[in-house]
């Protein structure tokens, strides 16, 4: 049963995803993918800022987990790009992922109205709980 869920987690091209995960490290993105899929979310995956812009624009997900430090285009640049494109964020909550508690990144994330989490401090369950909380599926 768990294997099935895992497959179903990758949506078809025309299917809308609930959650977009953009993370350059394949181990971590795979980990979140599995955890979120098991929890029943439809997930779209990207590996850099450009893909983040494309996926979020395409899927308009309820939530996007976007890593900050990524090659080609950072997560912050991607969100800025979306803002410039006039993307409607009321549909999508942004949670930045970061691997270092770099105060600059945290500050920027907050100033963009986004939440953030430090990957190293969280287990996938913690991430899942945060997402549920953000989506209002559980009370904090």
């Amino acid at each position: 049963m768990e294997g099935d869920t895992q497959k179903a987690a990758v949506p078809a091209a025309n299917e809308k995803a609930d959650v977009v995960v953009v993370e350059d490290d394949p181990f971590i993105s795979r980990m979140y993918q599995v955890k979120l899929a098991k929890a029943g979310y439809h997930i779209a995956m990207g590996v850099n800022g450009r893909e983040a812009v494309a996926l979020i624009t395409q899927h308009q997900p309820r939530l996007a987990l976007v890593d900050i430090n990524m090659p080609e285009m950072t997560g912050i640049e991607a969100v800025n790009q979306l803002k410039n494109d006039g993307y409607d964020f009321s549909r999508t909550k942004i949670v930045f992922l970061t691997n270092s508690n770099n105060p600059n990144d945290i500050e920027k994330a907050k100033s963009m109205g986004a939440d953030y989490l430090i990957k190293a401090d969280q287990t996938p369950r913690g991430v899942l709980e945060l997402i549920r909380q953000k989506l209002g599926e559980v009370s904090s």
Partner: protein
């Protein structure tokens, strides 16, 4: 019976005697002066004998005195040799030479009295005329040999003598030699050819004036016997007395016998009274007359006269007012040049390694060289008195006539080098004494100026060195900054790179453990938990390292933000719950009765502190026999929020407590319990607490347990409490 040659005799005799006595009395200890006296006595004797022979009026006596004149001539020849030798050898004559010429003199002496030498005299109306015999020819030979021998002694013998001494000899020699030649010429050549003998005698007497004249010139111009001053004074006296005598004679006789007073001074008494009044009057006028002549003689003899006191005081003024070496030297030289009338002058200042400074260094072609100058550092050198040809050559090349070494009590300073006087005169004793006084003062002043200049130069060098060092440091700083940036980038990258796989390890492990990939047994779960904890610990170590490296590089900064410990602490405790459970440690969080205030602190770092302290407590109490017990407290009062972790662990020995918060320090019992600790945890807690304005809470008893914690001020320094309170509301 008036005899015209008396006019020659009297002044010549007087001059000879006066000259001989002055020279002798001026320095009776000096051999040359004594010999000059003996020589003068000879001349005097000859003149007197000739004089007596002329005037005695008795043929027998005249013959005897003429023979005496011949004998005295021999004596004069001998003293002439001795005089020239003493002068040429500068008072260190050749004793052998004296012995031999003395013997010759003794042998010749009887010849003077042989009847064949002076055969007879005849009385003429002008004096006596001698008839010479065959043996008189011996004296011709004697005279010629004396002439030649002294010529050799004076100029052809190897003499170590100064140019001044040579000039002196030249004049003395010329005076005597001319007299000698006149005598030889007159007595042996002209007389046989029919010159009347009266002219021959007159010539001989007059020729003595050459001796007096030339010697006198050498005394005045070339300081022979150092009696110029005496001669000048004597002349002043001679003139004064002469003028006085003339005046007295004129008044006493001229007026008294003259028409004007003849009728008044008729009685003996009135003439007496007149004379007394005149005498008193003249007694008062004498000093004035003397001063008048002194002034005139001074003007003649001391044209370059200056006032030594004035010179010393003028220079003293400059020395007192100048500190810069260049100004000081040139002003002093200008004064000396002007007052002593020197052609050139220089000051050379020596430094530790050679010449430090010399005046006119830009103008003089021949610069002085330290090794050459070093030959003159012993004492005053006057070129005219110098016998060392090498030294003289050096000074003459620089046109220097006098060298005064400048030295203070402590050190050698340099040289005052003076050129020729414009008058051509040499430096007198007075000059030398004055200049020595000046040299002593000048040495001190120059020494000060040199020190001042050295300090100035040192300052300049120092400034230059500082400038270079600063430039180097600036360059090094730029490089270091680049390196530091590279290092920071590396650490940030390294920690990122390390954290990412750790996140994956922890994440997957937790997922397996939580059953995301199928059911796990209790045993498997426990194993996975250990793996998970190890990875968590490693994450924290990476963070600790990162922070310590930041502290080291001064990049460690507290990033303040609103932090609600009411929320943060339970999260941290829950993260440790599994670790505590596995170590069978009972961890309890004692929540405050009312929530503690939100603080403006660095969340990440504070979390790390909480974690470090609680983790320690769990670790070190896990060995407790009754089971580990950890109590976590969060409390607040009006000013402080405090966090405490109490455990029943191994505790910290008293001796180790002071060092506990030092970097890399680990107490021995802690090392034993937990060999893999880094010694960074408490160090970081200490630093973070301090940087956030807080205080460490710590008490411990070995074997019983410890309480670790910190308290943080509610109101961060300089921040408004209400701002923190508002933000608390906003977060909620």
């Amino acid at each position: 019976m008036f005899k015209p040659q008396l006019f020659f005799y009297i002044p010549t005799i007087v001059l000879t005697v006066v000259l001989g006595l002055i020279v002798f009395l001026n320095n009776p200890k000096k051999l040359t002066n004594r010999i000059f006296l003996l020589f003068s006595i000879g001349i005097f004797g000859w003149l007197v004998a000739q004089f007596v022979a002329d005037i005695v009026g008795n043929i027998e006596l005249s013959l005897a005195f003429i023979r005496v004149t011949v004998a005295v001539s021999i004596y004069i020849g001998f003293t002439f040799v001795a005089l020239i030798d003493a002068l040429a050898k500068e008072d260190k004559p050749n004793k052998k030479l004296w012995l031999y010429s003395g013997l010759g003199f003794m042998l010749l002496l009887p010849v003077a009295f042989l009847p064949t030498t002076v055969e007879s005299v005849t009385q003429k109306n002008w004096g006596v005329e001698a008839t010479y015999g065959d043996t008189y020819a011996v004296f011709l030979l004697y005279s010629i040999s004396i002439f030649l021998f002294t010529l050799y002694l004076a100029f052809f013998r190897k003499n170590q003598q100064s140019s001044r001494a040579r000039t002196q000899i030249l004049f003395v020699y010329m005076g005597i030699a001319i007299t000698l030649l006149v005598n030889i010429f007159g007595n042996f050549i002209l007389l046989p050819f029919g010159l009347p003998q009266q002219f021959g005698v007159a010539m001989s007497v007059a020729a003595v004036l050459f001796i007096v004249g030339f010697t006198g010139y050498a005394i005045l111009k070339h300081r022979l016997f150092n009696i110029r001053a005496v001669v000048a004074r004597s002349l002043a006296y001679v003139f004064s007395i002469g003028a006085f005598a003339f005046l007295y004679a004129f008044l006493a006789f001229g007026l008294a016998q003259g028409v004007f007073l003849k009728n008044i001074l008729t009685t003996e008494l009135s003439r007496e009274i007149f004379n007394v009044v005149l005498a008193v009057l003249l007694a008062f006028t004498f000093p004035t007359i003397r001063r008048f002549f002194e002034k005139i003689t001074d003007r003649v003899f001391y044209r370059d006269r200056y006032d030594p006191q004035q010179l010393v005081s003028d220079i003293g003024r400059v020395l007192a007012s100048e500190i810069l070496l260049e100004q000081l030297s040139s002003k002093v030289l200008a004064i000396i040049d002007a007052q002593m009338r020197l052609a050139t002058s220089n000051i050379v200042v020596m430094g530790e390694d050679g010449i430090f400074y010399q005046t006119h260094a830009d103008k003089i072609q021949q610069l002085y060289h330290a090794p050459e100058l070093a030959k003159f550092n012993k004492g005053t050198t006057i070129v005219d008195e110098l016998t060392d040809i090498g030294k003289r050559e050096i000074l003459e090349r620089h046109n220097v006539r006098a060298v005064f070494p400048l030295r203070t009590k402590e050190s050698f300073v340099g040289y005052l080098l003076l050129g020729e006087k414009q008058s051509g005169d040499i430096f007198s004793t007075q000059d030398v004494q004055t200049l020595q006084i000046i040299s002593d003062e000048l040495a001190i002043a120059i020494n000060n100026a040199r020190s001042y200049q050295e300090i100035q130069r040192f300052n300049e060098t120092l400034r230059e060195k500082v400038r270079l060092a600063t430039a180097e440091l600036r360059h090094a700083n730029v490089e270091l900054k680049e390196l530091d940036k590279a290092k920071d980038e590396f650490i940030s990258m390294a920690s990122h790179q390390l954290r990412t796989p750790l996140t994956a390890v922890r994440g997957y492990t937790s997922m397996v453990m939580e059953g995301d990939f199928g059911k796990v047994s209790k045993e498997q779960k426990e194993t996975l938990k250990q793996s998970f904890d190890a990875a968590t610990r490693m994450t924290r170590l990476v963070d600790d390292l990162l922070n310590v490296s930041r502290i080291q590089s001064g990049k460690f900064k507290i990033e303040r933000a609103e932090v609600d410990l009411n929320k943060v602490l339970p999260e941290e405790v829950s993260m440790l719950a599994t670790a505590a459970e596995m170590k069978h440690v009972d961890i309890t969080l004692h929540k405050p009765k009312s929530p503690v205030p939100v603080l403006q602190i660095d969340e990440g770092k504070t979390r790390q502190c909480l974690m470090n302290m609680m983790d320690n407590a769990i670790y070190y109490s896990s060995t407790a026999t009754s089971g580990g017990k950890v109590d976590v407290y969060l409390e607040a009062d009006a000013d402080w929020v405090s966090f405490k972790v109490k455990d029943n662990g191994i505790g910290v020995p008293k001796a180790e407590q002071a060092k506990l918060f030092q970097k890399f320090y680990r107490a021995p019992n802690a090392q034993k319990t937990r060999p893999d600790g880094t010694g960074l945890g408490l160090f970081l807690v200490g630093r973070v607490t301090k940087d956030q304005g807080g205080e460490i809470i710590f008490e411990s008893e070995e074997g019983k347990g410890s309480t670790f914690g910190f308290k943080l001020p509610v109101k961060a320094a300089g921040e408004d409490l209400s701002a923190a309170a508002k933000s608390e509301v906003a977060v909620k």
